[in-house]
Symmetry: C2
């Protein structure tokens, strides 16, 4: 099977095997060495000197950690949404009794910094902004993140960024862009099985935690930081995933971040070119296309609800469908993590064959 | 290394390798088949017809799930403690703004059902009781759990049980004992790497969840149940751990629960006999000794703070030390999961050699 979803992504054989190593004591010197190494590696990938905490949970757990540690009950926060994962922030904020002010942009577009500025001017009580860097549901990158960060800080607010499906594949310059809290997840560009999430914390964010009355325990980042200082985690960590991450980081740092970004950009362009050559349209606006996942509009006359099933069953390729209001209207082609030209070529062939099988006249292509 | 801690436990080679299988889509038919199979298997191990939800988190995450789904902010709850993990329930309950009434029993003793009855009579407003089945920190089993459950339900309260280090190794009859919420964790008798926790939910507990205003998102069990009905999890699951669990359950059910219980009981007795033959004393009271972990008092004249380091560095065996007030006063010998006679024999030899190395006159033994 060619796994072409935007995560979980294929795990390289050496990483998968690293996870099968003998179990160890999570309160002993071997684990202390591993978590110190993976934390230093994660900081390099985050391009930050801030703390980076690795929690045993999926990315949504990392998003919850970002909310419960920094947002207070009843607090009004600005949630900038450009797709389904932005809406997940809304959902978490509401679940915890805070009050989101939503600034929604059309699916496929990026957040407009000027409108964020307006929203913060109109709501001077807002001290926290939550935003998605790369919207997995629409294949769109919020390319103006550095400008947004500048505006958010001008308004003295905290900048919380879901970079789950970008960080490690697309440049996220945590320190240079002055991002307070950034979240990523092992099953994306990190080439590791799902189950670990990363959360970086700036000094501004630590200060916020000190006085934040929101209840938290498992996802309490201060507990995670204090355990990390002893080379531990507060609760038993997913050790086999740490073994994998350790190996994956070794491979990533050997390839080099710039080379990784370049490979993702090149393969994304190859995907987009191939998709357009089939006469298909992308959901993301021009210049906003994500380098980790491409969202493709299902062409007229094709039954979108059958696309992923036919691609999987007849052509051995697993694509993701649309989520929420996009169900049946798009398919998503993942190209992040351990991915190479042949995966993209095979994926494009599967797209074409699937469309033909569903009655699309590919001969009409541009 | 002979890993003789009470979890994470050694993962059998076939289980470890299962975790290295190719990554799959967590929203596809392969995963639906796996989670349906592992859920049915987990229900067999829990001996229940209740829902059993498998969450991507460590056991402490399962404990938090039990609290946030069933305990309301400000609610007074009874927390019965016989060691450090009972105190973790206290900590979680307090973190979420509920009010614990602690009924503490001396470390090494079991909870006395009559005193629980008294506590519930004295606090007729209490509707929730939290208790540890097998206290990992003291090597003690709360053997009167069925009687406690009868009393708790007579007082119309909900019975929440941390069975993390017992269930799958020691009989826990969820339905027969009428336990409302029971928690276990993959890294114990389940022979799987850490990172999955199991929570069973009775009808009484579901009803409580319906009206419980406590904020929750990642650990919301209703979301987990609703996703499970589609063969999914609400958030990306730790797939490689599900692959392992699937294989481990196959092995466990092939061995048979009765045979597993018998093996654990036999190896625990072998451990206790060997420990006593060295002239050492157990922390647990007679008849309360856990069949998954033995807590051994450090004999007089031996520097307890050095025990685990010497055992590991000189004799290739990893024991656990004491936690909290027991630090330096005991060591703990785990005998659960994928464990066999030779592991116990080797562990006992390591105990003896370590004590001799620390100046203990084993010749004096009884």
């Amino acid at each position: 099977m060619n796994l072409r979803i935007p995560g979980p992504t294929p795990v390289p054989a050496a990483v998968a095997q690293a996870g099968a190593a003998d179990m160890i004591n999570h309160r002993g010197p071997e684990f202390a060495a591993i978590i110190r190494r993976t934390t230093a590696g994660a900081q390099q990938v985050f391009q930050t000197k801030n703390a980076v905490l690795t929690l045993t949970a999926s990315g949504s757990g990392g998003m919850e950690a970002a909310v419960v540690n920094h947002v207070a009950p009843g607090e009004r926060v600005l949630v900038v949404t450009i797709g389904v994962f932005g809406q997940r922030f809304l959902d978490i904020v509401r679940s915890y009794g805070a009050e989101p002010v939503e600034l929604a942009f059309e699916f496929g577009s990026a957040a407009d910094p000027a409108l964020i500025d307006d929203a913060l001017k109109a709501n001077p009580d807002i001290r926290t902004v939550l935003i998605t860097h790369n919207e997995t549901s629409t294949g769109t990158t919020n390319v103006y993140l550095p400008q947004v960060s500048e505006i958010v800080h001008r308004h003295d607010a905290l900048m919380i960024v879901d970079a789950i499906s970008s960080l490690s594949s697309i440049p996220v310059l945590t320190d240079e862009w002055d991002l307070d809290v950034v979240i990523s997840g092992s099953q994306k560009g990190w080439m590791t099985a799902p189950g670990l999430t990363f959360v970086s914390v700036s000094d501004r964010a630590w200060a916020r935690q000190e006085t934040n009355p929101m209840p938290r325990f498992y996802f309490d980042l201060r507990r995670a930081q204090s355990a990390l200082e002893r080379g531990e985690t507060p609760w038993t960590p997913a050790l086999s995933l740490f073994f994998q991450l350790d190996k994956a980081l070794e491979m990533m740092l050997a390839e080099g971040l710039e080379a990784i970004y370049e490979r993702h950009h090149r393969l994304a362009r190859m995907t987009r070119d191939g998709i357009r050559a089939l006469g298909l349209e992308l959901l993301a606006g021009e210049g906003l296309e994500s380098d980790t996942v491409t969202a493709v509009k299902i062409p007229e006359g094709v039954d979108g609800s059958k696309f992923t099933k036919v691609a999987r069953e007849e052509f051995g390729t697993v694509f993701a469908g649309g989520q929420g209001p996009l169900r049946g209207k798009i398919f998503r082609f993942g190209h992040l993590g351990h991915v190479h030209e042949e995966d993209i070529r095979a994926g494009l062939v599967a797209v074409e064959k699937t469309l033909v099988s569903l009655g699309y006249a590919v001969a009409n292509r541009a």
